[in-house]
């Protein structure tokens, strides 16, 4: 597997501009001869599809929802980072770059991160131009707030619905191109495989989720922007439909899967209430600007609160452990996500957790309301408070919120080079689906930034470069009549028939829940060698059971949510094992990956830079065969590797 990152030569700050100049162009009149397939319509996919169509390419865009406007980017709440330095507080491209590399615990690729920081300003400009109603100050200029892992205010936001507004911006640009006929949109279509011709990605196989029809689509390049794999844990903050299928199928066709063990557990989610729960709800990190996180100092106090015998408001200050402020005085409640999550887990492991399950800590606005008044807090977080009350029945203006970490984002994903091209030539990967920018931990408000950076400002250049290299004579030459399409289509249909024919007794949802339990327990917030080895064995056994005993009701020729879920769970079953293998291989702790064997005396993550400063990339070698590990070593020329300290 060739892991040449193709990072351009030259000083860091000039790499992207000189690369843009060196890339080959396609003449405007020739662009209409090329067909580009974009899978996914979120920030990365939607923005890429719209931008490529604006340039003149013919684009086919696919999403599993009933409209491209529903991609899960929509659920991001808090904001989007950009190094505008509108607050005059010392921000710069260099600082955003540095914060992101450090936040990622020195496990990302320098050049990619620098480019991300560089185009971050253009993103805000583009969004404002397309009508995104960002929050503003009375003078009419844009407002900012702070997010975790940064000491500057660089986060732009649209109330607690920033993801929605950014997505609607990309969606409206996409809609314009659909209306003009430059993008052919396929709603309610699920991608089930990639088709390669002479080693290059030349198409996909999709299933129409309404009619059940399986069809072939050919293109000169394929862009995957299919999101993350957090739902491998069953319970996560992801939407119900989020899945790993597109990425996993690409992996099985030869794309390298990088750092799958880097998963982000978000510290502020509403605690689990029972075993019928289907989803966890995030409370935006922005709340930590004003909310103070605490757990009772004393186990007895915690017990009384759990049993409902003590109102948390009656716990005096000296009996509250504001543990983030205590342990990380310089970042306080805005310590990065991985660190805050682990600290919450520690408090709960210590028997000081609250909520009926003991798996919760407080996020308290008492002091902020006293300081700024309820109206100010309402203006900042009104919709989040309402959402909390709607779910829990508690009023957070009166009683502190209860929170607990939950799976939220996955930093790992398909390996890509500087051009966002995977190890399959012609297949590009953007947004959460790739691995490139966040290392082992993503900072808050950086996912929206990366999705739009890839979609608006990177892929439209690099895809064009690839198409140009293939030559205009090759444009549109591969059609769905090519035998490679028939072969992959037969695979896809065979798999669907197999799922429907097992006729066992257990539902796909039940298997999914069992898989989620294994990975959460053994490959969640704390991981160990023994646990991971056990998890691999358990997943293998569960997978075997799945293929013998799953029961998929309904048929293949109509809307069948059970069949959709079964296919996704089947892929999660394979993917979960790779994730555990990756976590087992990485004998260090970094960012979201915490191996209990590797920690400092005071319980902080202990990196091993000598042996693990690389991206671990897995190559598929066959079903039930161990995948092969390849390494892209990460070279830091501009940032000095240091122990991450937020103290």
């Amino acid at each position: 597997m060739n892991l040449d990152s193709k990072t351009p030569a030259g000083p860091l700050a000039q790499k992207w501009s000189s690369h843009k100049f060196n890339m080959k162009l396609v003449n405007p009149a020739n662009r209409r001869k090329y067909n580009v397939i974009v899978v996914g319509s979120g920030l990365a996919g939607g923005a890429a599809a719209a931008s490529l169509a604006e340039q003149g390419y013919n684009v086919a865009c696919f999403c599993y929802q009933d409209s491209p406007r529903r991609a899960h980017s929509i659920a991001a709440q808090g904001g989007i980072n950009a190094s505008k330095n509108y607050q005059n507080d010392g921000d710069s491209v260099q600082r955003l770059f540095y914060d992101t590399v450090k936040g990622g615990d020195y496990r990302s690729r320098e050049a990619n991160v620098y480019r991300l920081a560089e185009v971050s300003s253009d993103i805000i400009d583009q969004c404002v131009a397309s009508g995104v109603p960002f929050a503003r100050e009375y003078g009419g200029f844009l407002a900012n707030r702070s997010f975790g892992g940064a000491q500057v205010s660089r986060t732009f936001y649209a109330r607690g619905q920033t993801g929605q507004q950014l997505l609607l911006g990309a969606y409206s640009a996409l809609s314009k191109q659909i209306g003009l006929g430059k993008v052919k949109m396929y709603n309610r279509h699920e991608m089930l495989d990639v088709v390669k011709v002479d080693g290059h990605a030349k198409g996909i196989i999709v299933r129409n989720m309404v009619t059940g029809e399986v069809s072939r689509h050919a293109g000169d390049a394929v862009v995957l922007a299919t999101g993350g794999y957090g739902n491998v844990f069953f319970l996560s903050t992801n939407a119900q439909g989020c899945n790993v299928t597109a990425a996993h199928r690409a992996y099985k066709r030869g794309a390298g899967m990088a750092n799958p063990c880097y998963t982000q557990i978000h510290p502020t989610c509403i605690p689990v209430h029972g075993d019928q729960q289907s989803k966890l709800t995030l409370m935006s990190e922005s709340l930590r600007n004003d909310g103070r996180v605490w757990a009772p100092m004393d186990k007895e106090t915690a017990k009384k609160i759990r049993e409902g015998k003590l109102n948390p408001n009656d716990v005096p200050d000296e009996e509250r452990d504001y543990y983030l402020e205590r342990k990380y005085p310089s970042f306080g409640n805005l310590a990065p996500r991985d660190i805050s999550s682990r600290a919450a887990k520690e408090a709960c492991d210590d028997g000081r957790g609250i909520a009926t399950t003991g798996l919760g800590v407080f996020l308290d606005f008492r002091d902020a309301i006293k300081r700024d008044g309820q109206k100010a807090i309402e203006e900042r977080y009104g919709n989040l408070f309402e959402m909390y009350q709607c779910i829990t029945g508690d009023n957070p203006y009166e009683t502190p919120m209860m929170i607990f970490p939950a799976v939220h984002y996955t930093m790992g994903g398909l390996w890509v080079d500087y051009n966002l091209q995977s190890t399959i030539p012609g297949m590009f990967v953007g947004g959460e689906a790739n691995f490139s920018d966040h290392g082992a931990n993503r900072l808050g408000a950086s996912a929206l930034m990366q999705g739009l950076a890839d979609g608006y400002f990177v892929l439209p250049y690099t895809v064009g470069n690839y198409l140009s290299e293939q030559g205009v004579a090759a444009a549109g030459q591969v059609t769905t009549d090519h035998p490679a399409f028939a072969e992959v289509e037969a695979d896809v249909k065979g798999r669907i028939d197999k799922l429907l024919s097992i006729g066992g007794t257990e539902s796909p949802r039940s298997f999914h829940k069992r898989l989620g339990h294994i990975v959460w327990e053994k490959c969640g917030m704390a991981r160990s060698k023994e646990g991971l080895e056990e998890a691999i064995r358990d997943i293998q056994a569960l997978r075997k059971e799945f293929w013998e005993n799953v029961r998929v009701v309904g048929d293949a020729d109509s809307l069948n949510p059970e069949l959709e879920r079964a296919g996704r769970v089947a892929d999660f079953m394979e993917f979960g094992e790779i994730m555990c293998r990756d976590a087992l291989m990485r004998e260090e702790s970094c960012g979201g990956h915490f191996r209990v064997e590797y920690q400092t005396d005071d319980g902080e993550a202990l990196r091993d830079d000598d042996n693990f400063t690389f991206a671990g990339v897995w190559e598929y070698k066959g079903d039930d065969v161990e995948p092969q590990l390849h390494k892209e070593s990460l070279v830091y020329e501009n940032v000095k590797l240091a122990t991450r300290s937020y103290k």
């Binding site: 529903r70 109603p133 309404v210």
Partner: protein, 253 residues
């Protein structure tokens, strides 16, 4: 709590469809409405029946995918939330709950509670955008926008495109949806250049897709999970009248 569900079952677009009745036991009041339907699905699958098909995705009230009429009210009795945010603590033991798909001519039923809402996308495709090609933007702070205007645009832009307004309206009007989008874009300085063109194109498409007109009933705003106010329809009417007037003397597009 124990419940009786009357759920609309319809195999496909051509099927006539009918209500089926199901009993559910031991539902936690902390469960969400859709988690309650998940439990029904598991129960049906265990008996070898097809579960009830319904649209859902984010389950936090923002994607706009969930779309069901609960006891006669789109998104259910609580108001200001989507069906996925509705929790069972708002129902009582022994209650019978009737669940239907959106009922509106432009939204044909695909299966059970799933309907086809692509006409809403078509309205946006006709003009619900501000043309700003990627790369053509000036600095974001080059154009100050008064906070009041930005806030108003945000109020309008909060629409999640679920279609509850259409389902609640006896005329199956999409004017709250269209009005919200028009108000968002027409009120911002960036959106002024295409204002008249946008308004005319969106209204023409809206009418062409078979949505009815507004007769000021107000059900749409009452069921809107994002509490989009009726004023947005007034905004649409105002901008539409102005655009038509200008268009009469000199075509705007």
């Amino acid at each position: 709590m124990n419940l009786t569900l009357r759920v609309w079952r319809q195999k496909n677009r051509l099927d006539v469809g009918k209500f089926a009745e199901y009993k559910l036991a031991d539902i936690s009041e902390d469960s969400s409405f859709l988690e309650m339907l998940d439990i029904l699905s598991e129960q049906l699958v265990a008996d070898g029946h097809e579960p009830v098909a319904f649209d859902h995705d984010c389950r936090e009230g923002i994607c706009g995918m969930c779309s069901m009429t609960i006891n006669g009210i789109p998104h259910g009795p609580e108001g200001g939330i989507t069906a996925c945010q509705l929790h069972m603590r708002h129902f009582h033991d022994g209650q019978t709950i009737t669940i239907e798909p959106w009922r509106a001519k432009p939204f044909p039923v695909i299966k059970d509670l799933v309907v086809d809402r692509t006409p809403l996308d078509k309205i946006i495709q006709a003009g619900g955008f501000i043309t700003a090609r990627t790369g053509s933007a000036v600095d974001a702070n080059a154009m100050p926008i008064a906070k009041g205007i930005a806030d108003y645009a945000m109020d309008a832009a909060a629409c999640i495109g679920c279609g509850a307004c259409v389902a609640a309206c006896p005329n199956a009007s999409a004017m709250l949806f269209t009005g919200a989008k028009v108000a968002h874009m027409n009120s911002l300085p960036q959106g002024k250049a295409e204002k008249d063109r946008r308004t005319l194109a969106m209204v023409t498409t809206m009418d062409g897709e078979g949505f009815g007109g507004c007769t000021n009933i107000g059900e749409c705003a009452a069921v809107c999970p994002k509490s989009i106010p009726l004023d947005m329809i007034a905004h649409l009417n105002r901008d539409y009248a102005a655009a038509q007037f200008k268009n009469f003397f000199k075509p705007v597009a």
